[in-house]
Symmetry: C2
């Protein structure tokens, strides 16, 4: 599972062509909902080389609609690389010359990992709505089994943005001895009522689509495209700041005068419709429901008398918390809540507020200051590994 040599014509700082692997995990996984998965598969990409002591592995956790394809290209015909390609590669913050980077499609996902759109061996049909709803804790457990399979006892670092950052936090609470460094980006200690409201409307759009068929749309050879499209359009509103939207789309009519119909009249309408439609072509509605529920359920303080600090007292990782000034989905105030809890818990934490324009989506962008902060964090991570590749 080592990264391939970088072929031409990819840039020198690209991981180049990558091939996703399917990792079979035959250990039963007990879930928070009370059910147990006898076995499951995870689709995984890795970049870089695991060192002899397995001390240089970094786990990348993906957000709501992300997947395992974080860097490089799947074929020379690919127009776009993985979703975090600007951050992963030789000489980039997640430097694949020194780190072994592991990126997976989460359990319940729709890109090859066991989830609603895969076969349920017990029923012989697609899981669909029978697939259990998951929590972030379930993901941590499933990712720990993946680490076992890969021979990684302890991650040099776990890193993720948005829902990915929540997984990182949960890792440090649930399995503190298995994470040395934790980078929590553009996340929140739990969802606000407004966050949940957005998720609920997205879910209702999908659930009320007549072509959802109670989640068994596969068997009707349809997809709830209207609902999924609406859900995605709604998501996009929360990924961009008001100012970024204004700058990107203005609010001028495409024509000088109104057309007095419901065709596209403003750039932002065209953008949203395109985003919605292309999402329908690549994402599974049941997975979308599951992901939004995992977000809503995320609340690491719940089992600790609603004290996040109490939850974090058991953690041992060194933290980096990063927020973006223009992010209104998970605003800097939410990141500061995490930081305050870490400080109260006596943890080692650095905090960076990145001046940004785009909004929540900035966590995916190659903002120089952001990448400098990530680079400094990963320098500390590398120093913990030591020049020989052995943890110091």
């Amino acid at each position: 599972m080592n990264a391939p040599a970088i072929p031409e014509p990819y840039p020198a700082d690209s991981v180049g062509l990558v091939t996703p692997q399917r990792v079979a995990i035959d250990t039963p996984l007990q879930l928070d909902c009370g059910r147990t998965l006898a076995r499951f598969d995870l689709t995984v990409e890795t970049y870089g080389t695991l060192n002899a002591t397995a001390s240089n592995a970094i786990l990348v956790c993906h957000a709501l609609s992300g997947d395992h394809h974080a860097a490089g290209y799947h074929s020379p015909a690919d127009r776009k690389p993985g979703w975090w390609d600007n951050c992963i590669g030789p000489g980039k913050p997640l430097d694949t010359r020194r780190f072994f980077v592991v990126s997976l499609n989460n359990l319940g996902g729709c890109r090859g990992s066991t989830g609603p759109n895969t076969f349920n061996p017990e029923s012989g049909r697609l899981w669909g709505p029978d697939f259990p709803l998951l929590t972030v804790r379930d993901w941590v457990r499933s990712q720990a089994l993946l680490a076992d399979t890969l021979g990684i006892e302890q991650w040099a670092a776990a890193i993720g943005g948005s829902l990915g950052g929540m997984q990182v936090m949960q890792w440090t609470i649930d399995l503190p001895h298995r994470v040395r460094h934790a980078c929590v980006i553009a996340a929140a200690p739990k969802l606000s009522a407004q966050n949940i409201a957005f998720n609920e409307i997205a879910r209702q759009a999908i659930l009320s689509d007549p072509e959802f068929h109670g989640g068994r749309f596969y068997e009707h050879n349809v997809v709830p495209s209207r609902g999924l499209k609406l859900a995605r359009m709604l998501g996009h509103i929360t990924y961009l700041s008001d100012a970024a939207m204004r700058q990107r789309f203005g609010s001028e009519l495409k024509l000088a005068a109104p057309a007095f119909n419901f065709d596209v009249e403003f750039e932002v309408e065209s953008y949203l419709r395109h985003q919605g439609q292309s999402f329908v072509d690549r994402f599974d509605a049941n997975t979308y429901l599951l992901m939004t529920k995992a977000l809503d359920y995320f609340d690491p303080a719940r089992d600790f008398g609603d004290s996040l600090a109490e939850a974090l007292r058991r953690a041992t990782a060194r933290y980096m918390v990063i927020a973006f000034s223009s992010d209104w989905r998970f605003s800097p105030a939410r990141s500061r809540e995490i930081v305050r809890a870490l400080v109260e818990a006596g943890r080692d934490v650095s905090y960076a507020l990145i001046d940004s324009q785009l909004g929540h989506d900035d966590f995916l962008m190659p903002i120089p200051e952001y990448h400098r902060v990530l680079g400094a964090f990963l320098e500390r991570v590398a120093n913990d590994i030591g020049p020989t590749g052995a943890p110091t």
Copy 2:
């Protein structure tokens, strides 16, 4: 059309029982879309008494989902009064002892005024999607014809919040000699791309509902309830601030642990579903589409080289602009844009920023500071009328 005497058991500061009137307007109305309505009806409520010189009339313009029923009760069984009852009545800011308050259901509305859910005399069936899309300018023209019918040459004041405030602005630009005072509350000089994005998703929810039937759902004995419900839920997110949602609903699970299904688990879900459902029972989907389009099209600067100040140079009204600190739909920054344009145009303007918690919906709330500001504004309006009821 005078207000009835206040019957028991209504409070002394209530306008009491009111009866909506249907005002027939037989003057043809030319619309911005190029079409002409040969005639139309408006549903109207009035409170207070028009003085002999017709100088004490105040026009109240409603917002997206509002209607003519602004104050009082339609029957003793009514549980709730009109939507701005806290502001209209004897001794309230819009004091019906001295003002004659006119509140209408806008053209294109769904509460009795000519609109998509009324009969088109030319086709003999409900207008539905054949009803023309309207602009705020069209509404001003239609309201001017209403004023003519009522014998009101000049409004002592026009007042409105949100989309209502936009109508007030447009009045002062299009018919400056007919408005002495203008109160523009929680409005914006035009919509931002984000505002339009929310409207577009609401429209797509309705338009893509299979029970919309191209707007002819009446003839199929259904309503596009799923789409309309989603549209309303989405609207509600923008009416409340994040902090207000947090305070009102928290984000705690109703149960101590997740239920792992799609039933209501958080208070905010229950609130949104209820708001959505009750809206379906009282609102028309075609009207909702029309209202959101009128919002998107609103741009009084368009015909003035994109300069709002240039547009406002022709205005003569004295302005009061009011914004709410917690409003993120039409934030105080948007109100300040209006104020700056008014100052640049050399207009008489006062501006008040009300410290508030709830969000956009605060313009409907009896916040003491807000009502004091409104009261001071209306005192100036009353002073312009003079103690005898004649304009000074």
